[in-house]
Symmetry: C2
Subunit: 211 residues, 2 copies
């Protein structure tokens, strides 16, 4: 159990398995095979089994996996069995969309602080929280002991707000700004590359003379 070094890709897929397991569970099935999971995730069955074995032996030969047990196990492995307070930096359009994004709530990510540098926005309420000036972000995060931040500011503001968040004790950042944040070691940054994905699409379509 708990192997030495788990591939990043396997961790990413864990999330996918969890999502699919939820669907299967809600459909009333109690067990599922690696091939069924693979089919639904668009992957190879051996890969599904290998991924799961990194975290423990969940399966029963001849039968497959217990859906609810596996779902619960993955939830726990990923640390999603408890609520996670989150700070949001940038209350623009994207930030506001994220604020009301059901997917985050469903998974226990609770946005507890919102920061912006626009005086127009500071002081206003959003989802029951007052938008604070980003100057005060460090201390507020420290007080509230928040460890996860989401950056949805323009690129120009991203690095400086990242620094403030980290100063306040943030250890992980979900970054929507299209820049490579420079952070001290020990801080985890996960980038969401909105434009890049669309550009990729453009590339593949152009290559096929579709665009």
């Amino acid at each position: 159990m708990e192997s030495y070094k788990i591939p990043k890709r396997s961790v990413e897929r864990l999330s996918i398995y969890k999502r699919i397991l939820k669907v299967i569970m809600d459909a009333g099935f109690t067990t599922v095979s690696s091939s069924e999971l693979a089919e639904r995730a668009g992957l190879n069955p051996a890969q599904v089994r290998k991924d799961l074995v990194y975290f423990g032996q969940f399966g029963t030969p001849g039968m497959g996996y217990q859906v609810s047990t596996l779902h619960r196990a993955i939830t726990r492995i990923m640390g999603l069995h408890k609520k996670i307070p989150v700070a949001l930096a940038g209350a623009g359009n994207l930030g506001q969309a994220l604020l009301s994004y059901q997917g985050f709530k469903d998974r226990g990510f609770i946005i507890e602080s919102i920061f912006d540098n626009d005086p127009e926005k500071v002081g206003k309420m959003k989802n029951g929280i007052k938008i604070r000036n980003e100057k005060n972000s460090s201390s507020e995060i420290k007080d509230k002991k928040i460890k996860v931040g989401i950056i949805s500011t323009p690129s120009s503001a991203a690095q400086s707000i990242a620094n403030k968040l980290i100063e306040g004790g943030i250890k992980g950042i979900l970054n929507f700004a299209p820049i490579e944040l420079k952070v001290p070691s020990g801080i985890i940054v996960v980038n969401v590359a909105l434009c890049e994905k669309l550009e990729m699409l453009s590339y593949y379509l152009s290559k096929r003379k579709i665009l």
Copy 2:
């Protein structure tokens, strides 16, 4: 030039190089080395060179790459030198954020149609475009000859709207819904996994006993 099989990852990074080149260009530099690019992108210099060579020989030994030339070349390779009309399905919070997302506009992606199935929303104007009933999406897309679609609906609606978009002639889909879309071969789907990224962050932080 134009090698047989280009790694998906290299294509993704092309986008990153383009973004960095723009910054370097705006800062007034005319040439850049692979190590400078690598440094800024958080990559290995050899990888940068290998990536670029898939698409042509752009560099000069002893000097590096001509910033503007390379930027223009990548833009063209990715098919981003012309405007690309896009259809948006799902005018919820996320959809509205994407509508006003400057990054898309800057890169020439122009949202020309918006669809939703909520009668409350249908008929209303957004960014100068009338939100249409998603029932009519196929024909409208056909008329407007749109080839790229963005899906920002809830998961439950995603597959059915994807089918309609494809019926109307959409060849590439940027999918924000957390499900694996089933599409005919020849249709390209690029997924943006919002929750999965945040869950990954949760996993790594939990593992380090931070959460």
